[in-house]
Amino acid sequence: MTEISKLAELRKLMQSMERTLGLEELSPVERDIYYAAEELSKDSREVRTYGLIEHTLVQSVSRPTFFRALKSLVQKGYLSQSGNANRGRYVVNDPR
């Protein structure tokens, strides 16, 4: 195992700890969007942006804040853009 992969393994270990203990760095808006996405993904594999925006948990969030939080969730690995050519579709990733 290389030095980098040892660090990566340690980081993965810390991530498992922060998720179990609820210490992950999700803002309240990010958390609401993630919960909404999780709920919507129960019906279909992918979640659409407009479906998320209309969800009751997210309705009061302004558009710029919503899209910033969405981008951040993708960067943190909680959501990933669907491989589908159609943008605005996301797949919910389970916290590991």
Binding site: E3, E9, L10, L13, M17, L23, E25
Partner: protein, 180 residues
């Protein structure tokens, strides 16, 4: 070869750093805040965390990687007594127990070593920390012939040490991620 050298350097350095913090920073504070506590054992023994995490990351290579650091710490604390049979036995126990527990669990079908295709389980590492601590404190106290009360002091110190070390790493990663 280069990888062996760097593993040994970092693992031993981590053990020495954790021991320095434990014996020269935390234990003097412990003596100030708990003067009535009679045991010489640390209630926050960070080196236990280093040996458990090193064993998890390096497997049996952790034995050789930790050896220089553990020997230096024992030599610093005990002087020439480090060559007494009981001390050499304690060094042997300190470096071999954690890897042995990981391999024993793997042999029993519970493989906790890092793998690309699965997420690590920190609670399982803590469980290994508990098993290792019970074994290390039991065996070390046998080697030193310490009182029974010391067993519990070692156990508390080891577990809090592992937990605090993991929290320390967690905040260190978070700090460097924000900085970078």
């Amino acid at each position: 070869m280069r990888s062996w050298a760097s593993d040994t350097f970092y693992a031993s350095l981590a053990y020495i750093g954790a021991s320095f913090l434990t014996f020269w920073v935390l234990m003097p504070m412990q003596n100030v805040f708990f003067p009535e506590y009679p045991s010489r054992a640390s209630l926050l023994f960070l080196p236990h965390g280093v040996r458990v995490l090193a064993a998890w990351l390096l497997g049996w290579r952790a034995i050789l990687a930790m050896l220089p650091g553990v020997f230096l710490v024992f030599a610093t604390l005990g002087g020439s007594d480090v060559f007494l049979t009981s001390r050499l036995l304690a060094i042997f126990i300190a470096v071999t127990t954690a890897p042995a527990v990981f391999y024993l669990l793997k042999w029993l079908g519970w493989d906790l070593f890092p793998a690309a295709d699965r997420a690590p389980c920190w609670a399982c590492i803590m469980a290994v920390g508990v098993i290792t601590s019970i074994l290390v404190s039991g065996l070390t106290n046998l080697a030193f012939g310490s009182a029974t009360a010391e067993y519990f002091a070692f156990l508390i110190g080891d577990l809090s040490g592992l937990l605090f070390l993991m929290f320390g790493l967690f905040f260190a990663f978070r700090y460097f991620e924000h900085k970078g």
